[in-house]
Symmetry: C2
Subunit: 346 residues, 2 copies
DNA sequence: CGTACCATTGATATCGATACCAAGAAAGTG
DNA sequence: CACTTTCTTGGTATCGATATCAATGGTACG
């Protein structure tokens, strides 16, 4: 809008984007064939030193960069790309997972294509499809649901797949999990050992793999202790602090209210703490046990023990499993199932 | 080592990985030419309905997926990849930035190649080089230092580049920043208005763009109020909670100690709080002001005000700027400089 | 019914890089 | 010095997909 700037428009060259130099341009500049350039950049075996220098000079002069996509279409050539699909990067837990995977992958010369599924199975399907179309060498997925057909197909397509944090029943593929059941069992057992008999549970719906397992550990600990789980004290379906906060507010109104709360993940723990603070519940009236550690958990003005685990290690392990399949180290091995331990931290 | 498993070795087919079907396989299965398949998958204009159906059936039957890398080597074809280079995903602030970028990019059909520079300029250089070699359509970078030569070159190479969170002096390219100076100024002014005259500063080294700017705002607020900044109260060089904790412990031993602390980012705020808790400083004896909000900041047992800003919006904006350049919307426009506002939150 | 026009289809060339092969140069052997 | 061996080098074909063009087939209109 306003006045046209004719001065700029009259010089199309200023807008024209120079096309990137190709191997042919380098060859021409160095006075050799493209094949020789390819050899030099591929290690320089069986090439005269003077030609090597001429090629490298030409590369530097032109600012040449190999087109990785063109290279990778030749059969047998890898892209060096690993697709990583996470349900939610904003959750520090998954950010750590991503970081751990990056650590290992970058060390092996791989790059990450990262996608956020947002717990949406359709979106996950689209991402997997797209990533495979981009010829990723491997996939690390935190599956968002129990549907696995798109992952099955991919596995048949031959791309090594590692599931992280959650398993899909009936899908035989490498998997790294946190030992949710044992962690929740130990945490709950601690509360029971302290004498609590009315322990509330606040967590996500059972269709989420980890949530189901944690509730399972919670329940088993009660069974082992010969105590019933009061359904009135179990609230599932929350995955953000605010929903958890409301669930906890309701729990405070239950007749014969709980003396302790087991929260199934850090989102829920935060919500529980907010509710307790809001209602000014005295610190010595509510004992907390939360799955997942989180920053400043030691600042919480309530007796809180967290069931800690190493998300970064989870990412590292998942990446190592993919790389192992790619290097043929795991050739012929059945799908691996790894469970990482948890620790109780006061 | 060990016994050879001859049974498995004798059947190479069981190990052989089926090569992915190509457009030729689909064409053969559908009884048409590869060109017709390409047309169908490209929108299906000017193709007989029956052939469209035949092609789509063949695609479904073979589980065919277009090879995006092969497609993108044709001149003028985009890869749909955007390179995102972050200094540290484990920092929730940058995780949010990544999430915001993803939101916008996924909506535009782009995928993200994500790299972690770890505040290392060399690693950043490698990542940029690699990403450009993978033919990314655009780059979003949180620069780790003040060196810009690798970014300059890339800009000339024609790939749209957006800097996020930090600027590089002398590099004319699209940039989105938080208004650090104004934020730090306002925060400090608030402390001064409350009557504090000895305010400590805990933050990272001045070579980090944002750190420099925040210290600048802190200093300007003092100047405006006609008060000096006591060098003994300024501690720079910390970027993790533990270093900040130690810095704060030292500050508590200074003669005529501070009555308030300005912490330059959430890492430092956490460290400061830890030191205060450790030394059992009474809540009413130390006023806190911290740049960056963080989860549970309202649970801190000290009067804390945070200088809040929207990292996710930062990521969204950066992505929108890249997309604008790619769509030609920003053609001919000078490099944009956007500053996002901060708010004080008690 | 003939000509002009458009829809439909495939053959060919090309993108950038590399595997393979063959030709020529250099070096080693008797 | 003749001959074999090894080293260098470039030509050609190919990876998977698509732009271009030419050759069909069909339809419309006078």
């Amino acid at each position: 809008m306003g006045a046209m700037d004719n001065g700029e428009m009259s010089n199309p060259r200023s807008v024209q984007r120079a096309t990137a130099p190709t191997i042919h341009d380098v060859a021409a500049a160095a006075g050799v064939s493209p094949m020789t350039v390819s050899r030099v950049l591929g290690g320089g075996k069986n090439v005269r030193p003077e030609k090597i220098r001429a090629v490298l000079d030409a590369v530097a002069a032109l600012g040449y960069r190999k087109n990785e996509n063109a290279r990778s279409i030749r059969p047998g050539q890898r892209t060096g790309l690993i697709g990583v699909i996470i349900t939610n990067v904003a959750n520090p837990y998954y950010a750590q997972l991503q970081l751990g995977a990056e650590e290992v992958l970058a060390g092996g010369g791989f790059r990450m294509l990262v996608g956020n599924s947002g717990e949406d199975a359709d979106r996950e399907r689209v991402l997997v499809h797209d990533f495979v179309g981009r010829q990723v060498d491997g996939l690390i997925v935190v599956p968002s649901g129990t549907v696995s057909d798109h992952l099955e197909t991919e596995r048949v397509g031959g791309v090594p797949l590692v599931l992280a944090s959650r398993r899909i029943e009936g899908l035989a593929t490498d998997t790294v999990l946190i030992d949710d059941v044992a962690g929740a069992f130990e945490g709950t057992r601690r509360l029971l050992a302290e004498g609590h008999t009315r322990i509330a549970y606040v967590g996500n719906i059972k269709s989420i793999f980890t949530s189901r397992r944690r509730l399972d550990g919670f329940t088993r600990a009660h069974l082992t202790a010969g105590l019933p789980v009061d359904p009135a004290l179990v609230r599932v379906g929350q995955n953000d602090p605010d929903a958890a906060r409301r669930a906890m507010l309701e729990l405070l109104e239950v007749p014969d209210p709980p003396t302790a709360v087991f929260s199934e993940n850090n989102r829920n723990t935060v919500g529980v703490v907010r509710a307790l603070t809001e209602k000014r519940v005295p610190a010595d009236r509510m004992r907390l046990m939360g799955f997942d550690d989180f920053e400043l958990s030691d600042m919480i003005p309530f007796p809180l023990t967290v069931i800690d685990h190493d998300a970064r290690e989870l990412g590292r392990t998942a990446a190592q499993m993919v790389v192992a399949r790619l290097n043929g180290v795991a050739d012929g091995l059945a799908p691996q199932q790894v469970q990482l331990p948890t620790t109780l931290a006061d």
